[in-house]
Symmetry: C2
Amino acid sequence: MVQGYADRFEGVDAAKVLDALRMMRAGSLLIRELEAYFAQHDLSQLRFLTMILIDREPGRDDLRASEIADRLDVSRPVVTRTLQGLEKAGLIAISDDQDDARSRNVALAAAGHDKLREVLPGYFAILHRATPGLGE
Amino acid sequence: MVQGYADRFEGVDAAKVLDALRMMRAGSLLIRELEAYFAQHDLSQLRFLTMILIDREPGRDDLRASEIADRLDVSRPVVTRTLQGLEKAGLIAISDDQDDARSRNVALAAAGHDKLREVLPGYFAILHRATPGLGE
DNA sequence: CACATATGGTTACCATGCTAACCAAAGGAG
DNA sequence: CTCCTTTGGTTAGCATGGTAACCATATGTG
């Protein structure tokens, strides 16, 4: 379908366009697959990545909400909502910062560590399996 | 960050996992960029693809809503909502099918053809430019 | 010190995807 | 022909992303 259009525009390389479309499609499918996997474990990609981020933080065992937003490249309101969900599920613990009264510190609860251990192998398995799909 | 986790699991190739993550990221960024581009033109990816599909249909100048859902791999309610938006914007014309009273035929309005002409060059330009990013 | 600005978070609201449940019409089996 | 099932479409409601507008607290400058 692309070919017919590409012919009509100057400087458009149909192969390149198709590559981009393929990549976009592959990315979407992978995201969809991961989201379905996480849903089985009462998680979402963002909830999972939030916990990973805290778990992997060297030297500290907590992060501020704004740090999470910055590193995951997600808007703050979304972080707020995600943290509320994680807290209600008992996977994280939120506490007030001693130095900055505006700020809130987010740490993994024991259940959060357990959840990560439960979910990580399947997560890597999906990513691992997805990679050959790059060339398809 | 992945490496530290990968070491702890059997049979996980960190390079493969990173490839998958990169692909997912590249796909997301491209989707985001396209969505922003379409928003400037009062469109969305789905609205655009719907119009393209009708425009490119050989032999006919309209499609049924269910055909659109099937070919774009999107749920029917989303198609319903998208068509309502496009109709309100005057970009498509919806008519009842003569043979099947349940079905609705969707054709491009003149404004829809104009809109496609307006948007297509920029669309291809973005896809074209995005492709080198595959290897990054 | 006081006030203006910047920053951390939240709330409110919009867009876009989904599934479940529903209506109406078509189609097939008895 | 009647009834049951399938199919096209819509509505309702959930999840997840975003921006705009809003507090409260820090911070920096006159």
